[in-house]
């Protein structure tokens, strides 16, 4: 059985993929919890992740992917992971990254600071060294930067994966999973040159196809991309006749349930998606499909400009109902009062959402740490 855990972190993303063969992949890392607020309902991410690693008797992930370098996908990463480019990010207790996955934008971005800069330096260090990294790119996006380091694309071709291909290192036969890259792809300007890169638009977006017992289960990981990028993904994938790469049984929907990932218009009660985006949901969504929003609970008013937007949620909810599936929100999963990570189990019967009281993962069973106690807690 494969298992995907999507953590409750507010409007932020962290998903862990535990493959049946024991491999572990972490997609984004965003420790959003306010350490001094015991009422914060966002999960204590490093504690949870460390407990899981301890139970698995390991100190590393096979893959850590940063879909893009916004704070809600990277927060606290430099405190949690062992980074190879500087001694200050090394030492006991830090979690090792066997292979770092980043979009090309991370490498070429200039002028960034803090966490973003640290991760950029790590990515650059690994790419220059030529190991422990995979960069996702459109053709031409990395040329100049590599040239500035006296390298060519050919020198690092084995570490670069373009959109429209499978990610090397994983396949259905040995891992029960394959990853198909939807983005980033090189956008072109009107003049034919490369468009400027943008963190959200050039984020790493992919489809995972799991296989177990002869059954394939497809899941989209759609980071924070907006509807125009999604529209392009649908168009180009259909153009190449790879419609199975658009199909989904589970969908980590884009950008914390923002209407902008459906359309430029929010709509009054329900967002009406762009025609191509609509097709992604209404043609390629499979029976009993699940849609997952990594966001705060859906509010009933429009005061907050930030996602999640109730109109977008209304559309996703309607899709879930139509398919006989479910629309789940990370901060409302199980309940708004007591949110817990969403666990997706994938086996020969397809995907199931973990709902049984987890005897295997509880404080009483000894493999989950209780929250902090102590007389100084406020």
């Amino acid at each position: 059985m494969h298992q995907i855990t999507i953590f409750n972190l507010g409007n932020a993303d962290t998903s862990r993929i535990d493959l049946a063969n024991g491999k572990k992949l972490l997609i984004d890392y965003a420790n959003m919890r306010c350490a001094t607020d015991p009422k914060d309902k966002r999960i204590n991410l490093p504690v949870e992740l460390r407990a899981d690693l301890l139970n698995a008797k390991r100190d590393n992930y096979d893959v850590v992917a940063f879909t893009h370098l916004d704070n809600d996908h990277t927060c606290g990463a430099s405190e949690f992971f062992e980074l190879l480019h500087a001694a200050k990010y090394q030492g006991a207790g830090r979690v090792k990254i066997k292979e770092l996955w980043v979009p090309a934008a991370v490498i070429v971005e200039e002028g960034c600071e803090d966490e973003t800069r640290i991760l950029r330096q790590e990515a650059r260090y690994r790419l220059l060294k030529g190991e422990g990294i995979r960069v996702f790119s459109g053709p031409g996006q990395l040329d100049d930067w590599l040239a500035s380091k006296n390298l060519t694309v050919a020198d690092r071709a084995h570490l670069i994966t373009n959109a429209g291909t499978l990610i090397p290192g994983f396949n259905l036969a040995t891992d029960g999973v394959e990853f198909f890259v939807h983005s980033p792809f090189a956008g072109r300007t009107a003049g034919g040159g490369l468009a400027l890169m943008d963190r959200n638009s050039d984020a790493l977006t992919f489809q995972a196809t799991f296989e177990e017992g002869g059954r394939k289960t497809r899941m989209h990981f759609f980071s924070d991309i907006d509807w125009e990028v999604i529209k392009s993904i649908v168009k180009v994938t259909e153009y190449y006749g790879r419609t199975e790469r658009l199909e989904w049984d589970v969908f980590k929907i884009a950008h914390h349930c923002s209407y902008l990932s459906l359309s430029s218009e929010k709509g009054t009660d329900v967002t009406v998606p762009d025609a191509h985006v609509k097709k992604l949901f209404e043609t390629y969504g499979q029976s009993r499909g699940r849609l997952i929003s990594t966001s705060k609970p859906i509010s009933s008013n429009d005061e907050d400009k930030q996602p999640p937007h109730r109109q977008a949620a209304a559309y996703y909810e309607a899709q879930a109902t139509r398919l006989g599936g479910e629309f789940l929100v990370t901060m409302a999963h199980k309940s708004i009062l007591y949110p817990e990570p969403i666990v997706i189990k994938i086996d020969q019967l397809g995907a199931s959402i973990g709902k049984l009281a987890a005897a295997a993962a509880s404080i009483a069973s000894g493999n989950t740490p209780p929250p902090r106690a102590g007389h100084q807690g406020n």
Partner: protein, 757 residues
């Protein structure tokens, strides 16, 4: 966007407010639901009927995207709480099209499916019952049902129908895949406990006379062509529906039934008023190409009489006061008017099943058991119930009132022969249990049937509590069987098993001697043969159990004994084991190592001693070289068998005079040691004779001193009517034996001597 419409069964009763519920468990359920601590379950409404308080919820389980059974992400469930709180809560799936799946209760048509959540009896569950646990169990049930895992893959094939409460016990032959010629059965209603009827069907030939039981059913057995197992079906409720269930393409079943009715009409024992028991055998396959994996058997009782059935299937016509046969079959009549009641068939117990329930392999070892007393009755009962052995039981005793205090047999057997009553009782344990009784005193001349039993026996199991019987069974009968003795010590605290090896290279009488030796040697066994803490007075009493002994203690030893016999029979080695029960029935076991024996005939006596004892004699000699040494031999005389068993030696007493040329055996502590030996062994082991050693370089031929000593022994032993015994231990393993009674001739002492090494 249109929502899929889900139709639900309406719920009985009046709606009530959640806080108006009165039954504590219903209240707990509602409070649990309102606490918000339980995700995936939502309270919808509460109702009350005269019988139940009802709580309705929507609940979510872990339903996979491609479920095996159509369980939905959200299911509506009604819990029914009864005031008496003596049974599991009623759990109903309200969705009208909730699928027919494993682990539902037997339900009627057009009723909500009733879920069977627990295998545990409610009374056992009650101490840990919580509303949350019930909801969690429901979630698990729904999840596993959705995944098709509630009925595990390695479980037996799905049965065709839900088993009703009415049971019918059928001979095992009906459940066998290969059974062509099944004997007709007659069924009788044996009990009606709390409204649940149990019928027992026996082959006509084996049916007891009708006294006390009324034969109520004729029977018809029908074996269908192989069927691929499918989901559980609604039970057919008429003959016509049963035909449709079995085949829509032909009417083989009805044709066979018509044929059966037509031919049985003329037979003796036929009555128009009997009802009919239909026994339908379905060979089951996992797939159409697969092998037959089992025989599913269902039984249906007709409500109508044979006359009504025959009329309803179009072969007879009812006229006033009589039934007439039609010249043709009215094919339009297919039993539409003949309601059926489904019965839950239960397979009669077989040896194999009995053994399986005991978690042991069945065996057909041919036992001859001697003694049907307190221990024997309970040991054999334990073994027969575990499907062990075929038994011939020998006992001469009859069952007396006081026996009932510590015996397997009930008081109703008083006055009967013990073995006979035991056999009659144990024969019904399972089908064709072989337990035969012969009234016999084995010490007296016996009948041919007893001799035949001896000759056919694989194990002769002595539970007579008599040394004489054990020795006779060992040396006085002709049987290839391995001899075993199982007995209690006089106080009933200890159980003893003596078992020959399968190849009989060590005999039961020799094991008896090893047993005595272990009593002498092991401090923990010093008081084994004492009674009430004191040595017993008469030797024959050493296996006589005192009359004061609790049944629980006998039952304990019968349990141990049965296990010991079963495991010993399965192994080829000899066994000598003693179990000691403390006053609280804690048991300590002593497994005693046994030595091979040497036997030789001298002066008409068969002398037996263990190789171990020979080694010890040599070791004593070796330790005292260059001096001679010696001591006393103790053992058992059996004057009837003219056998002499050397059981043990007493080493040289402290006041002995040892030198390189002579040995004078002292007396210090000797009489005390002989007394101890006698008491330890229930006065079985006594003084036998003298032993001494010769130094290196000298033969074991008796010297003049030795001859003189032996003559003295002869004279003294003559007074007892016993032979004199003297052993001389020499170098290189030489051992000379001298056994003789006082010779009548004038040539002086006669030394029957022989070297044994």
């Amino acid at each position: 966007m249109e929502l899929p419409e889900i139709a639900y069964y309406p719920i009985a009763g009046e709606p009530v407010a959640a806080d108006a519920l009165l039954l504590p468990k219903a209240v707990e359920m509602v409070q649990a639901l309102q606490s918000q601590g339980l995700p995936y379950v939502r309270l919808l409404e509460c109702r009350r009927t005269p019988e139940y308080e009802i709580v309705v919820v929507d609940i979510e389980a872990e339903v996979p995207q491609h479920p095996v059974h159509d369980v939905r992400t959200v299911e509506r469930i009604a819990f029914g709480f009864a005031p008496a709180d003596t049974d599991h809560q009623v759990v109903l799936a309200l969705r009208e099209d909730f699928p027919l799946v494993p682990h539902l209760h037997f339900g009627g048509e057009n009723m909500p499916r009733s879920l069977c959540l627990y295998q545990t009896a409610y009374a056992d569950l009650k101490p840990t019952w919580t509303a949350a646990a019930l909801l969690r169990q429901l979630q698990h049930w729904l999840t596993q049902t959705a995944r098709g895992e509630l009925h595990a893959a390695d479980q037996a094939l799905e049965q065709a129908f839900y088993a009703p409460a009415e049971r019918l016990v059928l001979p095992s032959a009906f459940f066998a895949a290969e059974a062509t010629d099944l004997e007709p059965v007659c069924a009788r209603i044996v009990s009606n406990v709390l409204g649940q009827t149990t019928l027992v069907a026996l082959p006509l030939s084996a049916s007891p006379p009708t006294a006390g039981w009324q034969v109520q059913f004729a029977s018809f057995v029908y074996t269908t062509p192989p069927q691929v197992h499918v989901l559980i079906q609604e039970q057919p409720r008429t003959l016509a529906a049963l035909q449709t269930y079995l085949s829509t393409e032909n009417t083989d079943f009805l044709d066979a039934l018509r044929q059966h009715l037509a031919t049985s009409k003329g037979r003796s024992g036929f009555s128009w008023d009997y009802k009919l028991l239909l026994i339908v055998r379905m060979p089951k396959q996992r797939t159409a190409e697969g092998p037959i994996e089992g025989m599913e058997v269902w039984a249906f009782a007709t409500v109508g009489t044979l006359a009504e059935i025959g009329t309803d299937v179009g072969i007879w016509r009812a006229q006033p006061n009589k039934v007439v046969e039609l010249f043709y079959t009215d094919a339009s009549r297919t039993g539409q008017q003949s309601p059926l009641v489904l019965l839950n068939p239960v397979c009669a117990l077989t040896r194999e099943l009995a053994a399986a329930y005991n978690d042991v392999p069945p065996t057909t070892t041919r036992f001859v058991a001697i003694g049907a007393g307190s221990l024997g009755s309970q040991v054999v009962n334990n073994l027969v119930r575990a499907g062990q052995g075929n038994w011939v039981w020998l006992d001469e005793d009859y069952y007396q009132p006081h026996n009932t205090a510590r015996h397997y047999l009930p008081g109703s057997a008083v006055g009967m022969g013990k073995a006979e009553a035991m056999a009659a009782s144990l024969q019904t344990t399972y089908e064709q249990a072989e337990v035969q009784a012969i009234a016999a005193n084995v010490l007296k001349p016996v009948s041919d049937s007893v001799r035949n039993a001896y000759e056919a026996a694989e194990v002769v199991l002595d539970m007579s509590a008599s040394v004489a019987v054990a020795r006779h069974l060992t040396l006085g009968i002709i049987s290839p069987g391995r001899r075993m003795s199982l007995f209690l010590n006089p106080s009933g605290t200890d159980l003893v098993l003596l078992a020959e090896p399968r190849d009989r290279t060590l005999r039961l009488d020799q094991l008896e001697m090893e047993y005595y030796r272990s009593l002498l040697r092991q401090p923990a066994l010093q008081s084994h043969l004492h009674l009430a803490g004191r040595p017993i007075r008469y030797s024959h009493a050493c296996r006589d159990v005192s009359v004061r002994l609790p049944q629980d203690q006998v039952a304990l030893h019968a349990a141990i004994g049965a296990r010991a016999v079963r495991t010993t029979v399965a192994e080829p080695e000899a066994r000598l084991k003693i179990w000691q029960a403390q006053p609280d029935l804690t048991v300590t076991a002593h497994e005693i190592e046994v030595s091979p024996y040497i036997e030789t005939v001298m002066s008409g006596w068969m002398v037996s001693l263990s190789q171990q004892l020979v080694r010890e004699l040599h070791a004593q000699r070796q330790a005292r070289l260059p001096n001679e040494t010696g001591g006393i031999l103790v053992g058992v005389f059996d004057t009837q068998q003219r056998r002499l068993y050397i059981v043990d030696l007493i080493p040289s007493p402290a006041d002995s005079l040892e030198s390189p040329t002579s040995y004078v055996r002292g007396i210090e502590g000797v009489s005390a040691e002989l007394a101890r030996i006698s008491e330890c062994t229930g006065r079985q082991v006594v003084y036998v004779g003298e032993w001494h050693s010769h130094p290196n370089g000298y033969s074991i031929r008796p010297s003049d001193d030795d001859k003189n000593l032996f003559a003295r022994l002869q004279r003294e032993r003559q007074a007892e009517g016993l032979p004199a015994v003297m052993a001389i231990v020499g170098e290189d393993g030489a051992l000379g034996w001298h056994v003789a009674t006082m010779a009548a001739d004038a040539e002086g002492p006669h030394l029957g001597s022989q070297a044994i090494s």
